[in-house]
Amino acid sequence: MLDLTMLYFVMVLIAGIASGYALRRRKKLDFSKVAFGIIMVLIFSLGFSMGSNGELLSSLPRVGLEAFVIMLLAVAFSVVLVKAAGKLVKLG
């Protein structure tokens, strides 16, 4: 996804924030139902790409355990360092 799509994401996000800022004086809008619906579509299509990825499904049983150990340690130390760095620079 290291391409134009990333740029679109940033632009759409900025456009959203700007619109929200402009709408500030208005009564608070509630998007939670809309957002919920879109999240479901998003998660469904995420599952869809996992399920249709034959290469992924066939390598799961073969390398699953090793991959799991690597992933778990990577995640664990990410959390440790993020917490430590957060204290260091006083991230609220």
Partner: protein, 202 residues
């Protein structure tokens, strides 16, 4: 919320599996690319509006400022160090394990790229390890959210700018949007370079 997320994930996987292995109803690209990107763009806009309207969140973010950028670099160093340790624990190539963990959860990049640089076996591990990272980020959110503000973002790595972003914001509130997005963005840019750099050590 997590019930619905897991259900949608499961239904999606089954549908994707049946569609590509049993009877192709639609071109998978329509769901994996177009539906995915369209809903993500729409959601980014909606989440942006909510953030823009939220006075408290804006004030909080102004106080944090650029210090927020320590998060992705901490995730990158933590992931690579975890990979190093995993290499020792498993008695396998330390370089391979580090390159795999430098995918930061972006499995569609890490799988092919590590495979190309270090061979098919490592490619498969890179694929699965990063896929598991994404999956774990989504299914553990109700727990990780309680463990600290930036913990879900640390879990998600590069995925927090797209696939796991909506779920994180849903659970952690609008002010998590910028932390998650910027961290995921920086890590997505870093991932290909750090994989390549680590692979050349081997």
């Amino acid at each position: 919320m997590i019930k619905y997320i897991l259900l949608a994930l499961l239904l999606g996987s089954v549908a994707g599996y049946l569609n590509s292995n049993w009877a192709t109803v639609i071109d998978g690209k329509w769901v994996s690319n177009y539906a995915f990107n369209a809903s993500l763009l729409l959601l980014l806009f909606v989440m942006g509006v909510q953030l823009g309207m939220d006075r408290e969140a804006a004030a909080k973010m102004r106080r944090t400022g650029l210090r927020i950028l320590v998060v992705p670099f901490a995730v990158a160093s933590g992931s690579i160090f975890g990979g190093l340790l995993a290499g020792f624990v498993l008695g396998k190539s330390v370089v391979g394990a580090m390159a795999v963990s430098a995918g930061y959860g972006w499995y569609t990049l890490a799988g092919p790229l590590v495979g190309q640089l270090l061979g098919g076996q490592w490619g498969a591990i890179g694929f699965v390890a990063n896929f598991l990272r994404e999956l774990l980020t989504v299914i553990t959110l109700p727990l990780t959210r309680k463990a600290g503000k930036n913990v879900p973002v640390a879990f998600g790595g590069a995925t927090t700018m797209d696939t796991t972003l909506p779920v994180i914001v849903r659970y952690c509130g609008p002010e998590a949007l910028i932390t998650a997005f910027s961290s995921g963005f920086v890590l997505s840019v870093l991932a290909p370079f750090s994989i390549m750099a680590l692979a050349t050590l081997g």
